[in-house]
């Protein structure tokens, strides 16, 4: 590509155009035969116009608009040249390819298509008018038709190219947004890691340096914080790994028929302590519904929701997990998780259970929001749903459904992960 650095395409194109047109005009002046005064006027005016307009790309006028005007005037000038020389018999119609080329060099494919159409119409008009010494032969007619069709085809081709270009631009933009969302997600999550890490690093250092001065109660207090925060950190790392697994499609479900109560009971084993497990009560109908799920992944999802309910309930609060009777719904098993303190108005809850699936990339994100987002994505992968309902007596209930049977072919295929997420709501790293 002939494009020296610092010299944009428009300037090169304008220079080449001037060179070609001025050569043509000079040749026209030198040719003794078939000259008339009208033609001479067009050649002189045309040459002056070409000289003047060549410098337009160097001016401060809008590049696109000046080029469009330049191309249109070029087509008209060429038409005048053809008409005044010998009408349809003139060979100058080949000059029409110059503005067409000029337009396509600018890579504005729509402008190139427009130029083609204008050239075709102008030449067709000359064909109808005939010109000064018009002796219309079949050769001339076929030339007019050939040129107008080829220019028309060229216009169609440019339009097609332009549409593909737009599609490509859209794809590039989407990819860039997804990459940006991903790196913002990563930067936010790594920042979240620092919160538990601060307590772990700090308190273990205090214990290490001041072991003798600290009484056993204080030592135990520190150990409790370290233990809690390291469990929190481990959970966050687990969530983060799950997000990446879902994002690159490595997470595949192996669904089998499982009793829902078995899944709930084993999900409790993923909680941190027996004390936590004791605070959870499970109630299910005698005929326990069977769900079509990936046991391991559904346990992960449920334990994250139950963990969140336990956190909301506070130190003493109890959490109840209620399985609805199978008669209520033939397609899905419904599980309700209730706890005092669960609140839909909670910022993290609103982020995760809001209308958009873009939960993983939206602000604000905390360790808690990330866990709930992973739970939601896992349940949706199963073809289920999770939402929050306000209780009449205050507080909220997290409800979720999972399918009871294998989905029919072509069932819902939920795309999860960062690439599928919209970027809306993500703003730059504004301090504050």
């Amino acid at each position: 590509m002939l494009s020296p650095r610092g010299l944009p395409r428009e300037k090169i194109a304008a220079g080449m155009r001037a060179l070609i047109l001025l050569t043509v005009f000079a040749m026209a002046r030198l040719q003794p035969q078939a000259r008339n005064s009208a033609f001479d006027v067009v050649v002189i005016v045309g040459a002056l116009y070409v000289l003047a307009s060549t410098f337009l790309p160097w001016s401060r006028y809008d590049a696109r608009r000046t080029t469009i005007v330049m191309l249109a005037v070029d087509v008209l000038l060429i038409t005048a040249l053809i008409y005044t020389q010998s009408g349809v018999r003139s060979e100058y119609y080949l000059l029409y390819y110059l503005p067409i080329l000029h337009a396509s060099v600018r890579l504005s494919l729509r402008d190139a298509a427009g130029t083609c159409v204008l050239a075709a119409l102008s030449y067709f008009l000359v064909g109808i008018l005939g010109g000064p010494e018009a002796t219309v032969t079949t050769t001339v007619i076929s030339r007019v038709l050939t040129f107008t069709t080829s220019a028309g085809l060229l216009a169609a081709f440019f339009m097609m190219l332009s549409r593909e270009r737009r599609a490509f631009d859209r794809l590039t933009r989407h990819y860039e947004e997804a990459t940006k969302a991903k790196s913002e997600f990563l930067s936010r999550v790594s920042h979240e890691f620092r919160t538990p890490l601060t307590a772990i690093v700090g308190f273990s250092q205090l214990l290490y340096e001041h072991e003798k001065e600290l009484d056993p109660t204080r030592q135990h207090e520190y150990l409790t914080v370290i233990r809690e925060q390291s469990q929190q950190l481990a959970r966050m790392i687990e969530d983060m790994l799950d997000v990446t697994r879902m994002d690159d499609g490595r997470l595949r479900l192996t669904q089998t028929a499982c009793r829902i109560t078995d899944i709930i009971e084993s999900s409790l084993m993923l909680l941190d302590s027996q004390a936590d497990r004791d605070r959870v009560s499970i109630s299910a109908p005698t005929a326990v519904p069977v769900a079509w799920v990936d046991k391991g992944e559904m346990e992960q999802a449920l334990s994250r929701i139950i963990y969140n309910a336990l956190e909301a309930a506070g130190d003493e609060g109890a959490v109840s997990v209620v399985v609805s009777p199978p008669e209520e719904n033939k397609e899905y098993v419904t599980v309700a998780v209730r706890a005092p303190g669960l609140n839909l108005a909670d910022e993290d809850m609103a982020v995760v259970f809001g209308p958009s699936a873009a939960v993983l990339t939206q602000k604000p994100s905390s360790g808690k929001a990330l866990g709930l987002a992973v739970a939601r994505a896992l349940i949706e992968m199963h073809g289920g749903r999770v939402w929050v309902e306000d209780e009449p007596g205050g507080g909220s209930t997290i409800k979720l459904t999972v399918p009871r049977h294998q989905a029919k072919e072509g069932g819902p295929n939920v795309i999860v992960g960062l690439a599928a997420a919209e970027v809306g709501g993500v703003s730059g790293a504004a301090p504050g």
Binding site: S187, H191, R194, T195, L197, T198, A199, I200, V201, G202, F203, Q205, L206, E209, H210, E213, L214, V225, Q229, E347, A429, P431, G432
Partner: protein
């Protein structure tokens, strides 16, 4: 005279860590705590601390607006501010120093480093603010 310190952080574990780090340093301190920017501003006007340990990312009023407000008020202008934040990005450091903070500590930090920096700020020892996390110390 005991130095007066205000610890501002929305995370209770982080406040406790800063408090105990200072207390275990062998020096006596008067310590106050606030869990958000608004109550921090009220406390600063009420108790006039010598130094404020200030977190950046807090709900509602963040640390940087608090910092600017302290420095804009002639009564509180003399209060030294040390930012203690999990954000290690250069933009955050620059914005904090611009808002009038004297030093910037990134979380996680070593307790001894926190104490050392608080002392340095109080005694106005020479030295540009260093940005280093405690775990590399």
């Amino acid at each position: 005279m005991r130095a007066r310190v205000l610890i501002v952080d929305d995370d209770p574990a982080a406040r406790k860590l800063a408090r105990d780090s200072l207390r275990l340093s062998g020096e006596e301190w008067d310590i106050w705590e606030a869990d958000d920017g608004r109550s921090a501003l009220n406390l600063i006007r009420a108790v006039k601390p010598d130094v404020v340990l200030l977190d950046i990312t807090m709900p509602e009023v963040g640390g940087i607006p608090v910092c600017s407000e302290i420095k804009a008020d002639p009564v509180t202008r003399g209060t030294e501010i040390v930012i203690v934040s999990a954000r290690a990005e250069a933009d955050f450091v620059a914005a904090s120093l611009e808002a009038g903070a004297t030093d910037y500590i990134t979380k996680p930090f070593q307790p001894a480093d926190l104490v050392r920096r608080v002392r340095r700020v109080l005694h106005k020892e020479a030295g540009a603010p260093e940005v280093a996390s405690g775990d590399t110390a």
